[in-house]
């Protein structure tokens, strides 16, 4: 079974209450935005974290990607707010 590691950062992590989770890979054709819609149904924390997808950013295997990107055979997806370092 192919798996997908999802990582959460900043207020996404705080709302969901965990750093990340491993899920069954939803398929190479699944878009990130559609996966987010599925995750949103997993509970109140998820619903809060994913209430406004336009406030979210994503990285697949350590590279920024738009939310309408498909997962492909990525093994790591990260979901987080726009970065604020520096």
């Amino acid at each position: 079974m192919e798996t997908l590691n999802i990582l959460y950062f900043a207020w996404v992590r705080e709302a969901i209450g965990k750093d990340g989770e491993q899920i069954e890979h939803p398929g190479a054709e699944m878009r990130i935005i559609d996966l987010i819609a599925m995750l949103k149904e997993k509970g109140a924390g998820y619903a809060e974290a994913f209430a406004n997808p336009e406030k979210l950013r994503a990285a697949i295997d350590h590279a920024f990607v738009p939310l309408d990107c498909v997962l492909g055979h990525a093994s790591e997806l990260a979901l987080f707010p726009p970065v604020t370092g520096g």
């Binding site: 990582l7 950062f9 900043a10 207020w11 992590r13 990285a59 350590h62 590279a63 920024f64 990260a78 987080f80 707010p81 726009p82 970065v83 604020t84 370092g85 520096g86």
Partner: protein
């Protein structure tokens, strides 16, 4: 000299600058970002995405070195709990040309702010805390590099 570090420890900006100066290039530029104590800020926590941070900073340094004739680059970014007055970030560059050193320094800090996965959470004297919001002007600063 290429040096980048992401970690909780403070760093010695003077030592980094001295090492950049010793490369023989004639021009050393640096930028240091420090936690401001505005609005009753008592602490700041920096989270990051370690594997991606390293990859992004490494790529960023490569791009700067392709674009400008640099003899040395140092990028240090702290994470974890910081207080007002603490250094957050340091970018130093060495080149034979002052314009290259200064421009590369500006490029690196502009890109670091918008493409390295760090997130700041501010804690205030009244007990409130908030995640810092990304600013459109940071994206604009990055975009002027084309």
């Amino acid at each position: 000299m290429i040096e980048f570090r992401v970690g909780a420890d403070d760093f010695d900006a003077a030592d980094l600058i001295a090492r950049l100066e010793a490369l023989g290039g004639g021009a050393v530029a640096s930028f240091t970002g420090i936690v401001r104590g505005d609005d009753g800020l008592v602490s700041m926590r920096l989270d990051h995405y370690p594997a991606m941070t390293s990859a992004q900073i490494s790529t960023l340094i490569d791009k700067a070195m392709e674009r400008w004739p640099l003899l040395g680059v140092a990028v240090i970014h702290r994470v974890g709990l910081l207080s007002p007055g603490d250094r957050i970030v340091f970018v130093g560059t060495a080149s034979r040309h002052r314009a290259a050193a200064l421009e590369a320094c500006g490029y690196l800090i502009d890109w670091l702010k918008t493409s390295a996965p760090f997130w700041k959470k501010e804690v205030f004297a009244d007990g409130t805390a908030r995640w810092v919001q990304a600013r459109a002007e940071d994206d604009a600063a990055r975009d002027r590099w084309g």
